[in-house]
Symmetry: C2
Subunit: 131 residues, 2 copies
């Protein structure tokens, strides 16, 4: 399994609540961090518990995964209590296991005023995001 | 130049306002999108103008860059009017040029209530983020 496949497996086993397979991807000393909230979870046991107790009804899928031999990242779409939420996760690996996860949850916001006349703004429907 | 180097050059030339070198990295039909605001800019001329007119006093540096032969992503720290703002950008390449940029600006927020006892919360000082 390469790091690209490990990230794909991270997403699919988490989505399946397959805690055995999910836990097998994690280093015992995995560090999980959310810079936006300054939350931090240290260690596999704690990170498993964090996910098992994650609030809401949720599912996820990877939109894209990019990885090299040491690190990787994924753009992920979460469906949380019927709301679509994008997430971006960075991964670091050690001895074939995920040793660090940096998680971002970018929420919608109103853009600042732009002086460029080249900026379009799409309708809220996600389907209108160009292919 | 490989895609990892192209992303590094994207960040350094943008930071330097070296619009000639920055523009040389971009495909004529580059598509820039911000899913959080639903903003969209089509084409090199427009994307250059968008950056030249970007509000505030800003500088940026790449925290990490991950790339393969087709795509890449970067975790970037922006300093905008003395405020540190993390950003994550995904890149797609065509014929050695950046053809699509998907930009995320994840702002700070208060986390939801957690039932796991394993979650720590760091003090606001960025310096306390563990190495």
């Amino acid at each position: 399994m390469d790091n690209h496949q490990r990230i794909q497996a991270f997403v699919t086993t988490l989505n399946a609540r397959d805690w055995t397979a999910f836990g097998a991807l994690l280093h015992e000393n995995v560090l999980y961090e959310v810079p936006q909230t300054r939350e931090l979870v240290r260690g596999r046991e704690g990170y498993l518990d964090f996910n098992m107790t994650f609030p809401g009804d949720w599912s996820l899928k990877a939109v894209r995964v990019i990885a090299d031999d040491l690190r990787g990242c994924a753009e992920i779409t979460f469906l949380v209590s019927n709301q679509l939420m994008p997430a971006v996760a960075f991964f670091e690996f050690e001895a074939g296991l995920i040793v660090r996860i940096t998680d971002y949850w970018p929420d919608s916001y109103e853009p600042p005023a732009r002086t460029s006349q080249f900026v379009e703004r799409l309708e809220p429907e996600l389907a209108q995001r160009p292919a």
